[in-house]
Symmetry: C2
Subunit: 232 residues, 2 copies
DNA sequence: GGATGTGAAGTAGTTCACAGCC
DNA sequence: GGCTGTGAACTACTTCACATCC
């Protein structure tokens, strides 16, 4: 496997969540023609301290140059490698409402190495058609095996969708529905819940942290609800 | 202000991010007619330890009953109060592609107390129309004041959208575009980046944590990219 | 008996501060 | 001179374990 990875895969969770952010920044810099940067600048843009940036990046191996900083191109590539984008990921999406369709059509959603191979919806007027040349199938007739399953159904249908994904031997689920899912141990579920994001912002507005209460808003390490074992 | 809040607003960031999850679980329980629960069950469903649940909830005041657990209804209400949902939030959305429209149409997106008051898009065929009885306006003619601004534009337009929101004196931004935003100190930006979520899942698949490498996947405390100060 | 709420202990993550290198 | 990479100090969060109360 790649050299950056076998160094040690003890990247901490917060670090893992920040690496894609640094990568985004690096991509933006490349787009603008910036070829060099440093931990101070990266920290400003990512909203973390320079020390944290250096600590995070040092986990990928020594990719900076003392005295001058980081090469943006190298940064981009090394983070890609550390996150495992040399692998290939097959993605299926269940639920083709506005959100599901937005994901299919979005160029932003897919990471390098990921490909949407199947779409699922129970709406008979959709089943049998294609979207972006990807076939739309009925999830009740079984789901094809894939690496990652994405749930975009309404809340009521989310658990059934999860069951279908689990039945297809899919062990990683990205859940956009506002339901807590019941899945077997060993299945990773990551929740993206829009209203929770709103709630967190709202909390900061109401309480001291935010601009209404004054002070530099610097809420580092916000945690998102994660992953799960089977409830007893 | 509310009794639960002035106890002390020293809820930690991880706690704040978990409270909405407990609330979701409580709502689901109510829907199913469950009126009592305990930290063990809540922990299973939320993917955290019972001790963490108790520690989190104790921050809202003593709302459990020793020996029997928590009243689900009380839980739901108290979390609502702690998160500041007795306040009113005006929300504007900039960018009405599939994602923007999904948010407008979704019953899941809005939290109690929040209301979408304005929609913005530069597409001339949309400006002047209404969506869900909310008028669609041109952001280049200025944005109305609101509590929270939501950016759903393509990446290229995100910074302009942010500038317009800042110009409207909006200090809290939920950014769904994959761009790092440049905003003044004192403006809270929360990033929801779909591809970052995919990347984090992908990392766990590639590395030991996930089912491919075996072991109980229990990635607690995943942090999402947060908030930002003005780059120098 | 049983589950909360919480000091105390343990663990993880961040920041400091500086040696090392360009 | 300047910025990285990192041991050491610090801070924050989690978990343990139990006294407390229903």
């Amino acid at each position: 496997m790649s050299s950056a990875l076998n160094r040690q895969n003890q990247l901490s969770e917060p670090t893992i969540a920040r690496l894609p952010v640094y990568q985004r920044i690096a991509q933006e810099m490349l787009r603008r023609g910036t070829t060099k940067t440093d931990s101070k600048r990266l920290g400003e843009l990512a909203g973390v301290t320079p020390a944290t940036v250096r600590r995070d990046l040092s986990g990928l191996g020594p990719l900076g140059t003392r005295g001058s900083g980081y090469d943006v191109q190298t940064l981009e590539v090394q983070i890609d490698e550390a996150l495992g984008h040399n692998r290939h990921y097959d993605v299926v999406i269940v639920g083709l409402g506005n959100l599901g369709r937005a994901l299919v059509g979005s160029t932003n959603f897919l990471i390098r190495g990921a490909q949407i191979i199947g779409l699922y919806d129970i709406d008979p007027s959709l089943v049998g058609t294609t979207l972006n040349n990807i076939p739309v199938l009925d999830p009740r007739e079984g789901i094809m095996n894939a690496t990652i399953g994405v749930i975009c159904t309404p809340a009521e249908a989310a658990q059934a969708a999860a069951d279908a994904l689990v039945g297809a031997n899919i062990h990683a689920i990205l859940n956009f529905s506002p339901r807590v899912l019941d899945v077997p141990v060993g299945t990773a579920v990551r929740y993206v819940d829009f209203s929770i994001e709103l709630q967190i912002l709202a909390y900061h507005l109401t309480n001291g942290t935010g601009p209404l209460g004054g002070g530099l808003l610097r809420t580092l390490g916000l945690t998102t609800p994660p992953v799960v074992a089977r409830p007893s």
